[in-house]
Symmetry: C2
Subunit: 359 residues, 2 copies
């Protein structure tokens, strides 16, 4: 028997999920979005400050500091250089923060502070080569146009981050000017955004104002205070910087706490890691007692993106079930049962869990 009333008008839209509005922090409805490249309107937004104002100057990018020939590149010049396009997943270091127990203060991100697409731009190494790195060069600092006040700090700050030389020289670290074949949307860094594959997205500085090569370790708010793992509540002991994306996975369907029919259900999700490709995803429907290997979608495999996976589940008996997903990457990293708690709530990557009821 077929029941046909699914010709809904108008079409359904998932929209973004707001965590704060001032500044704007909104996540992608990833449970509902099965696209390969995230459309710009659904790309998650993570801001520390209000959106900056652009001027004519924003279309000129200076490189200064420990270089032989300080340079200022115009936007037009950058467009004329040999380009590189990389498909890159950007994940907020605070993604899944709401899952930490005990709860951690800050934006309560679910699993959607993560989006991906094709970024086109000029390899940073080419620009650094034009300027000529001195041997004293130790780190490269990127300053954005976004600035403002933060709780507990009396003077305003600009957003700024540094990269170590070797990551800066990687051919896939680019100064991007296009996203998915169009100029980068303003809210995502137009006109120029640094794209650092494999690192959490705090490294991919938006609205780049200037690049400075320095001969020491950069000490900025977003480098030495924020975006640091502090494993202890009351002391800074054992702290270490947030860098590479942890091996991780999420179950997109079914939804947590949903009620389903008896029958075959397709369990769908994604898995990703900054350490390498996803090599396998295992799924359990009995709370981790037994695991079955899911099918990876070969066409979604790419060095810096998520990999889609799927598995059919024959739900024969009524009752409550816990579905779990566990990803493994090419470096051999496997998602842990629990993610190490840290005071600012970064890098959550425990095995994903969803509870469902079959009735």
């Amino acid at each position: 028997m077929k029941h046909k009333n699914e010709t809904s008008t108008p079409p359904v839209s998932p929209y973004l999920i707001t965590r704060t509005l001032m500044p704007e922090n909104q996540e992608t409805p990833l449970n509902f979005l099965l696209n390969d490249n995230t459309p710009p309107s659904y790309f998650y937004r993570r801001n520390h400050f209000p959106y900056p104002k652009l001027t004519k100057q924003s279309f000129f990018l200076p490189i200064t500091g420990e270089v032989y020939k300080p340079r200022i590149f115009s936007f037009q010049q950058l467009l004329s250089f040999p380009s590189r396009t990389v498909k890159v997943l950007l994940e907020c270091a605070g993604n899944k923060r709401q899952l930490f127990i005990p709860k951690v203060f800050g934006e309560q991100w679910g699993a959607g502070a993560m989006s991906q697409g094709d970024w086109k731009g000029v390899p940073l190494k080419d620009l650094l080569q034009y300027a000529g790195l001195k041997y004293t060069a130790k780190e490269i600092v990127f300053e954005g146009y976004d600035w403002g006040l933060m709780p507990g700090i009396s003077t305003p700050l600009y957003y700024a981050r540094s990269l170590p030389i070797e990551k800066a020289l990687h051919p896939d670290t680019i100064i991007a000017y296009e996203f998915n074949g169009k100029p980068i949307p303003f809210k995502h860094g137009y006109p120029l955004r640094l794209i650092v594959p494999q690192w959490y997205a705090m490294a991919s500085v938006k609205w780049i104002k200037r690049i400075k090569v320095i001969d020491h370790t950069f000490k900025g708010q977003f480098q030495t205070e924020d975006y640091v793992y502090y494993p202890n509540e009351d002391s800074d002991e054992g702290k270490k910087p947030v860098t590479i994306i942890h091996v991780n996975s999420m179950i997109q369907q079914p939804l947590n706490l949903s009620i389903l029919n008896q029958g075959i259900h397709k369990i769908k999700g994604m898995a990703w890691s900054g350490y390498g490709e996803i090599t396998r995803v295992d799924v359990s429907t009995d709370h981790g007692q037994s695991w079955t290997e899911a099918t990876l979608n070969a066409s979604s495999r790419s060095p810096y993106t998520w990999t889609n996976w799927t598995i059919d589940w024959q739900a024969e008996t009524k009752g409550e079930f816990t579905i779990m997903s566990r990803a493994t990457d090419s470096c051999g990293y496997v998602q842990p049962i629990a993610s190490q708690w840290n005071r600012k709530g970064y890098g959550y990557h425990a095995i994903d869990k969803v509870n469902v009821k079959i009735q």
Copy 2:
């Protein structure tokens, strides 16, 4: 010192929060929406089934059953009858379901499955009078055009609910054809929607197909199975139907788990009850040890809507704080410390709580 970079372009938008897409269930971003009447694009959407298809017939409303003169009213006729406009809050019975502990299956609504505005239409009592109620009339059944399958039930169902005679005859129970001065948006029941002030919104049937007066107690899925409080996990003992909206409140600002500066913060929220007007709201910033009466916004007081409230909080010391809000209505109902758990997760109305960190 003034730091002026708040001239964000383009403007921020809160959007809806999706809970499911098929059918479409999305909540209003109430933490960010401070409007009196909810704009249609931000009105929460709660569907049991796919959106129905309308036909010419959808513009004719029959009243049959225990009446002297069965009638069919055309949409045009209804527009010509004396109208009534009521400002009504609609709240999903599952609003705040995600706060129940233990967790309850079903759409995981936060506090935004709730919206309000001006509904204009014809009092239902006038229509019943045209048809002439027989003395055998006991309940009025409203059937919507929406239908489909549900987990665990093998045949498709129409959405239908009944009202007892006395609620049906209340002058503010209307067959609405306008929302906020315009035709009701399709997703909210166009062309005709029953509006039942003071009851949870499952009673306000959308896309009304027909009205039937019956001489017995209606036994529909959404009357005797769903929208019933079951206080026990394993038995139906003590069950009772969901009807009137519980006294309730929510803290809109500050956000839960946010990090704030030392200084004066405006705590803002709303309070509502189906039992009468909100007479006071008390706020605690010390986890319920002491309470201070908040200021009610007189202009937002109206019999069937939420009341906005506000209070200034001088946050002098650094540390973690729990802010709580507790509403009282004109019937003397006060929000409890804990909301009675029930198997399907309806009517959550415990004192609202928000944790913040001052740094």
